[in-house]
C-alpha cells in the first residue's frame, strides 16, 4: 500500500497526480475464506480491517451488494459521542471513541475527526435531572462530561436562542468536549483501503441471495454473481436488511426497519462550531467543514424500506431547528435523504452469536451506529476471530430479549429514538 504523506503529495504533483495507486483492488472471490463478512458499510469494513490487522485473520472477504460505504454510512449526520447512561453501552461507545482518537494515524487516511464537542440541551426540570444523572454516570465510567447552565451554553453557542422567550427555554445542557464529528465517507474509504492492504478481498456489486447452512452450521453464502462462496465463519453486518438475512438463516430478530432522514443546507459562513442536540424539541445540528448545516431528524413512525422518509418528519425537524436557532429560519435546504435503520426494542445494538453455529450478527444500531463504527468493528472482529463474543459485546446478545437482560437506552441515549 502506498503511504500517504506530505512528501508523497509533493512527489505526485510532479506527474500531475496521474500515478496514484488504486485505493483498493477489485478481486474475483476465492472458493473459500476463513471469514466472510456480509455488508460493506462502515461497520463491515471496520470489522474486516481489525480482523486482518489486530487478529491476523487475512483470508477474509467482504461481500457488498452495492458499492462500499453506499448505505447508511453515506447517509448519517456524522456525529461521534460516547455519553451513554448504562455501563454496557457507555463502555462500548467509549471503546469506539478511543479508537476514533487515533484512527486517522492508524489508517494513514484522514477521516477528518474533529473533537468540537457536543451539547445535549435540557428544556425542562426533568431534562436537567436526567442530564445530571447521565453526566454523573459518565464520569463514574471515566467518560468526560459536564453539566452547564443556560448562560454557559450561550457562551459556547452564541447563535442558540437561550432566552426565556422560547416556547421551550434552554435551562442547561450536558457537554462532552471530546465528542465531535468525522467525515463519514472517509471512514468507509479509510477502512476499505486498510483492509485491502492487509489482503482482505472486497467484493462489490455482489448480492448474497442465501446462506448455506448444513447441520445447523453455516458453511458459506450463495451469491447472485459468483455462485457459492464458502467460509468457516460468516458475520452479517447489513443494517436495515438484517431481518431479511436472519430469515434466510431461519430465525427471527426483534428488529423493525424504519427510514431515518437527514438534510443539509446550502453552505454558509462558519456559525456553529460544535454539535447541538435536543431531545425535547427533537432536532440536532452541526456545521460541516464545507459550511453546510447538517440537520438530523427522527425516524418515521412506521416500518419502511424506502430510502427517503416522510414529509411530516422534515417539517417537525425544521420546527425544532428554528425553535433552537431562529437565525437559521431563512437558510435554504439543499438536500434531504433517508437511510434504513433497524431499531431494537431497547434502543441498543445486537452483536451476537445466533442459533446457527458459526453465524454472527452485528445489527440493530438504530439511529446511532455511525459513532460506534471503529468500536463495533473491533469487538465484532475479536468475536469472529475467536469464535466467542468479546466481553464488551456480550451484553448485546440477541438472547437478551428472551432472558430479559435489556440495556434500555431509550431515554438515556441523549436523543429520542
Amino acid at each position: 500500500m502506498q503511504h500517504y504523506s506530505g512528501f508523497g503529495l509533493l512527489k505526485h504533483s510532479f506527474s500531475h497526480h496521474e500515478n496514484w495507486q488504486r485505493v483498493w483492488r477489485n478481486p474475483t472471490p476465492k472458493k473459500k475464506y476463513d471469514v466472510i463478512i456480509v455488508g460493506g458499510g462502515g461497520h463491515g469494513l471496520a470489522t474486516a480491517y481489525y480482523l486482518a490487522k489486530e487478529f491476523g485473520v487475512t483470508n477474509v472477504a467482504v461481500i457488498e451488494k452495492g458499492f462500499l460505504g453506499g448505505g447508511n454510512t453515506a447517509r448519517n449526520t456524522t456525529i461521534v459521542r460516547s455519553n451513554y447512561l448504562w455501563d454496557e453501552a457507555a463502555h462500548l461507545y467509549e471503546h469506539a471513541m478511543k479508537l476514533w482518537e487515533g484512527l486517522s494515524q492508524d489508517l494513514n487516511y484522514n477521516v477528518m475527526f474533529s473533537q468540537r464537542g457536543c451539547l445535549n440541551l435540557g428544556h425542562t426540570l426533568q431534562d436537567m435531572r436526567d442530564i445530571q444523572r447521565r453526566v454523573n454516570a459518565n464520569r463514574l465510567n471515566g467518560i468526560d462530561g459536564e453539566v452547564l447552565d443556560a448562560q454557559q451554553v450561550q457562551e459556547i453557542v452564541p447563535v442558540l436562542d437561550c432566552s426565556d422567550r422560547a416556547r421551550y427555554p434552554v435551562l442547561g445542557a450536558s457537554w462532552q468536549p471530546r465528542a465531535g464529528v468525522a467525515r463519514h465517507d472517509a471512514v468507509a474509504w479509510g477502512f476499505a483501503r486498510g483492509a485491502d492492504s492487509h489482503g482482505v478481498d472486497l467484493i462489490q456489486q455482489t448480492e448474497v441471495e442465501d446462506l448455506i447452512i448444513e447441520d445447523g452450521t453455516v458453511v458459506g453464502v450463495r451469491t447472485a454473481r459468483y455462485g457459492e462462496i464458502r467460509a468457516d465463519r460468516v458475520g452479517c453486518v447489513v443494517a436495515g436488511n438484517s431481518s431479511v438475512l436472519a430469515k434466510m438463516a431461519g430465525f427471527e430478530l426483534p428488529l423493525e426497519s424504519h427510514p431515518l432522514q437527514a438534510l443539509v443546507s446550502e453552505p454558509i459562513k462558519p456559525i456553529l462550531d460544535t454539535v447541538v442536540m435536543s431531545n425535547q424539541v427533537h432536532g440536532y445540528a452541526s456545521q460541516s467543514d464545507k459550511g453546510d448545516l447538517v440537520i438530523g431528524a427522527g425516524i418515521d413512525g412506521y416500518n419502511g424500506y424506502g430510502q427517503r422518509g416522510s414529509y411530516s418528519t422534515i417539517e417537525h425537524t425544521i420546527q425544532a431547528i428554528v425553535e433552537m436557532f431562529p437565525v437559521f429560519s431563512r437558510v435554504r435546504m439543499n438536500r434531504q435523504w433517508g437511510g434504513i435503520v433497524d431499531t431494537c426494542p431497547d434502543a441498543c445494538p445486537i452483536i451476537s452469536e445466533t442459533p446457527v453455529k458459526n453465524l454472527f450478527f452485528n445489527c440493530g444500531w438504530g439511529t446511532g451506529g455511525f459513532k460506534a463504527t471503529p468500536g463495533s468493528g473491533h469487538v465484532f472482529a475479536a468475536s469472529l476471530a475467536k469464535g466467542e463474543m468479546h466481553p464488551l459485546a456480550k451484553p448485546f446478545s440477541m438472547f437478551r430479549f428472551h432472558n430479559g437482560a435489556l440495556v434500555d437506552e431509550h431515554g438515556a441515549a441523549g436523543v429520542a429514538h
Partner: protein, 97 residues
C-alpha cells in the same frame, strides 16, 4: 404523505392526523404464567419486519381516536386496504407464515 381512509370516520384524512402503533394481530398468550421465557420474550419484543406486505395497527389520534388496521407495502408504501379491528385482511403476502 399518506392519505389514509379512516374506516370509522369514513373519510380520507392526512397522515398527520394518524399515529402508527406497530404490527397488528398480535395475540396475547392466553395463559402468561405457563409461558417459557422464550415464548414471553417473543410475544413482547419480536415483530414482523417484512420487505413487502405488512399488517399494521394505526390510530386516528387527532380524529375519532379509534384503532384500525392497514395492510401496507413497506417497499412501495402503497396502502393496499384498510379494515376495522376484529376483521381479517384480504391482501396477504405470498410467503406469509
Amino acid at each position: 404523505m399518506f392519505h389514509i381512509y379512516c374506516p370509522y370516520c369514513c373519510e380520507y384524512r392526512e397522515e398527520e392526523e394518524f399515529h402508527a402503533a406497530g404490527q397488528s394481530h398480535i395475540a396475547r398468550p392466553l395463559d402468561p404464567d405457563a409461558c417459557t421465557d422464550k415464548e414471553w420474550g417473543e410475544f413482547m419484543y419480536f415483530r414482523a419486519n417484512p420487505r413487502g406486505i405488512h399488517h399494521e395497527l394505526w390510530v386516528h389520534a387527532a380524529g375519532c381516536r379509534q384503532y384500525f388496521n392497514i395492510t401496507r407495502d413497506t417497499q412501495t408504501y402503497e396502502i393496499k386496504e384498510v379494515y376495522k379491528v376484529g376483521e381479517q385482511p384480504t391482501v396477504v403476502a405470498n410467503n406469509a407464515k
